[in-house]
């Protein structure tokens, strides 16, 4: 709760939180706001926006409602972004914690694996992964997480290396706590804040990667995503630019919201990081 208070006190945090809350509400209530399959052919093709009250943002090449696509696209973008970031951070935390806490050969080995993943551009990795396995939401999530876990792993390891030399860790060792207990109960909670600050950036990157994958036709074709909407609009950019602009705006607002939130979070966490 204190963290939330600190967060809202920073202007970035307040705006970011506002945007994200609105987006989450839209995502949750998308089926209520626009009932039915957003991909169904609802009206005449290529209605311009703001002309028909039934389709406020117009329709696309096949006569699908653009507004419905954007509302339901919020679901896909946010869920893929959050799931990918969660997966990346979970993997990163585990690997970083193990490497930092165990040290020695295990550390060396794990860090070389991290190096390997950091060397490969994460987008190329996702692209290759999805094109080999086939496009569906879980695969896309995994593909994005695969390229994003290395950074939190490094950060966690660095934190753990510094924390494990602290006195309270030494005393925990002396009183005979199990190493796993030390790792998860003493070290992890204190190594977490900077990783959490990083997580917002990972979410933003994951949303963008998902959009880029869909743009290239590697998203799940059975759900509507902003990236695929932009890709379809691209072919008629000169005659109906609105088809690409609206999902583009949605994407920008989301990513800006997540970034502002992450800025605010970093600032709010700033004062607390050194506390034991």
């Amino acid at each position: 709760m204190r963290l939330l208070r600190d967060l809202v006190r920073t202007p970035e945090g307040a705006i970011g939180l506002g945007i994200l809350t609105a987006l989450v509400l839209v995502a949750l209530f998308a089926p209520v706001l626009s009932a039915g399959d957003p991909l169904r052919i609802a009206g005449r093709a290529l209605l311009p926006p703001f002309t028909d009250p039934a389709f406020p943002l117009g329709t696309d090449r096949l006569g699908r409602d653009v507004l419905a696509g954007i509302l339901h696209g919020t679901r896909t973008s946010l869920s893929v972004g959050l799931a990918a970031a969660l997966a990346a951070i979970a993997i990163g935390l585990c690997v970083g914690l193990t490497a930092g806490f165990a040290g020695g050969l295990v550390d060396e080995g794990l860090m070389r694996v991290v190096d390997a993943f950091q060397i490969v551009p994460s987008f190329l990795l996702a692209l290759a992964f999805v094109s080999v396995i086939g496009a569906s939401v879980p695969v896309v999530v995994l593909a994005i997480a695969l390229g994003a876990w290395a950074d939190p792993a490094r950060l966690t390891r660095a934190q753990v290396l510094s924390i494990r030399e602290r006195d309270y860790v030494a005393s925990a060792r002396v009183i005979g706590m199990h190493p796993a207990e030390i790792a998860f109960r003493e070290i992890l909670p204190n190594a977490l804040p900077p990783v959490l600050a990083l997580s917002a950036i990972i979410v933003a990157a994951a949303i963008l990667t998902e959009a880029a994958l869909s743009f290239l036709g590697l998203g799940d074709p059975n759900v509507v995503t902003w990236g695929s909407m932009i890709a379809e609009g691209r072919n008629i950019l000169r005659s109906s630019p609105s088809l690409s602009i609206f999902p583009g705006i949605a994407l920008v607002v989301t990513v800006v919201g997540v970034y502002l939130f992450s800025e605010g979070l970093t600032k709010a966490l700033g004062g607390r990081r050194l506390e034991p």
């Binding site: 096949l62 086939g134 496009a135 036709g217 059975n222 072919n235 000169r238």
Partner: protein, 533 residues
């Protein structure tokens, strides 16, 4: 220049110089006498049309290497003579005699003779060429009684009708003196083409352009009319329209300008949109069906799917009117074979629902009857959009189709090798004769892995019999009648569903003359194409 001295003026000057340096070459290109600049979207590795009989190769190579005859709107048998001046089949269908043009020279100065035709046929078309393998499967020998006569001898009757229809595509003649005794597949002449055509391939810069220059010794009187053709490589489809408007190119064939841009482009002064000139290159939009799936093996379900598709929507909205609704496996652009009197399936959701109920697949609690895997081919925007449409059309009759997108290689492997599909959307090409195109989509007994063939496990002995009989029926009328029966059976039994058929669109500056004056214009030799100054 250091950063400190970088004033606004120097920056502007440098910027101006930079602009001028990029503008200069295009300006000079556009001004030169009769030089036609054309958009090319691919750069084939092997440019030899005798080996690779595909449109991507023909687009460039057909100006350099000529076939025995070219397709024609008004010529006899739909052909215009090129390297052959006449052709005649024997009554038993076992030999065809070609009279060849006299006084034709290769680009390197050597004379063109019947030996070149015999060599091309026996050493390249029959063993190596993708389509020649089928057409010349029974070719035994080519006799050359004199320099301008070539007699093709077949071991089994081969219909002259088939050979005629295939001539423009399969009969590109290459020089024997450059190929004999070499490894044909790696011969340098596959890239540095030597032919008899109106243009010589003089320069190729990978990633930039192909330059073709006038062949002064061309056999056609007063031809070619152009001095040069430049094929500018523009891989981005969105770029061709802008390049036409900026007068950087004068012609974009093969729908390089997307359909959705045509309405706008057609209003630009000085540009015209031409949909003629692709009649012999008709693509068919086909729903391929995996008959191994129990539901789809039921004729009623296939009929229901056919009734669920609104062909008018497909033509008007997906193809924006640049297509025609199909009735069966032979397109209307092949009037020699086309038969309109086949069963048709009007768009009727209620009837589709009724048929599915009759077949015993009632709607479940969630409104769906069963689920299908739908794989649209990724080659065209339109095939992908039709995939999106078909999913919705099937949802309307309670069939849940799950789309699977894949790149070309993965799609071909999944559909034609692994049979990992229930419905697939394919764009097969009609190649002028059913024997070398549409029949392969329904004939049984084709091994797995042959792309663009019947891999849906469909088997119909009667249909197989007709196809086999037509392949060796020499009499044209009887053979045509067999293909009419073939169309009836396919339209009745629905081994696949033909939805629409379409050709490509050419966009050209109105200064370009004699555009689209034959049914394969984009891949013909352009000897009469001219530029009005």
């Amino acid at each position: 220049m250091t950063i400190a001295t970088l004033s606004r003026r120097t920056l502007l000057q440098a910027g101006g110089a930079l602009l001028a340096s990029t503008a200069l070459p295009t300006a000079t290109l556009a001004q030169a006498g009769s030089r036609l600049i054309v958009a090319a979207d691919s750069e084939p590795k092997n440019l030899n049309p005798a080996i690779v009989a595909s449109n991507g190769v023909f687009f460039i190579a057909s100006k350099v290497v000529e076939p025995l005859a070219e397709a024609s709107f008004d010529g006899k048998d739909g052909l215009a003579p090129r390297l052959a001046t006449s052709w005649e089949g024997s009554a038993d269908g076992k030999s065809v005699t070609f009279k060849l043009r006299e006084g034709v020279k290769w680009h390197d100065g050597k004379p063109f003779t019947s030996a070149d035709v015999a060599y091309s046929a026996l050493s390249i078309w029959k063993p190596l060429q993708n389509l020649g393998r089928l057409v010349f499967a029974n070719l035994e020998a080519v006799e050359t009684p004199d320099a301008t006569t070539a007699v093709f001898k077949f071991s089994k009757p081969t219909p002259l009708q088939l050979i005629r229809n295939a001539l423009p595509v399969v009969s590109s003649v290459v020089p024997k003196h450059l190929y004999e005794g070499t490894d044909i597949a790696t011969n340098p002449a596959n890239v540095k083409l030597v032919g008899t055509g109106p243009f010589k391939l003089t320069e190729y810069k990978p990633g930039e352009y192909y330059r073709l220059t006038k062949n002064a010794d061309y056999w056609g009187k007063g031809e070619p009319k152009l001095d040069e053709i430049i094929f500018r490589v523009l891989p981005d489809r969105a770029g061709a329209g802008a390049a036409l408007e900026a007068e950087e190119i004068q012609l974009a064939a093969f729908s390089a300008v997307p359909l959705t841009d045509l309405a706008r482009i057609s209003k630009v002064p000085g540009l015209k949109v031409i949909s003629k000139g692709y009649e012999a290159l008709t693509y068919q939009l086909v729903v391929e069906i995996n008959h191994r799936r129990k539901e789809l093996a039921d004729l009623k379900v296939r009929q229901a799917i056919a009734h669920a598709i609104d062909k008018n929507f497909v033509v008007d909205t997906i193809f924006l009117g640049y297509a025609a609704a199909s009735t069966g496996p032979v397109p209307k652009n092949a009037p020699e074979f086309y038969d309109a009197s086949v069963p048709t399936y009007a768009f009727d959701t209620a009837k589709a629902n009724a048929l599915l109920d009759e077949a015993g697949y009632k709607k479940g609690a969630n409104g769906t009857r069963f689920s299908l895997k739908l794989r649209p081919a990724p080659y065209f925007n339109e095939t992908k959009q039709f995939g999106d449409y078909l999913r919705q059309a099937l949802a309307a009759v309670g069939i849940d189709a799950q789309l699977i997108n894949a790149d070309s290689a993965a799609h071909q492997k999944a559909v034609y090798t692994d049979h990992d599909f229930d419905l697939a959307i394919g764009p097969p090409v009609f190649r002028g004769d059913p024997a070398i195109s549409t029949t392969i989509l329904v004939r049984s007994g084709i091994p797995a892995g042959v792309p663009f063939s019947n891999q849906g496990g469909y088997e119909n002995k009667e249909l197989d019999g007709i196809i086999a009989k037509a392949a060796e029926t020499v009499d044209t009328a009887t053979r045509t009648e067999l293909y009419k029966q073939f169309q009836k059976i396919v339209a009745t039994d629905l081994p696949l569903i033909n939805v629409a058929e379409w050709g490509f669109i050419t966009v050209a500056r109105d200064t370009v003359q004699n555009v689209s004056n034959n049914p394969r214009w984009a891949v013909s030799n352009w000897s009469d194409t001219a530029l009005k100054s």
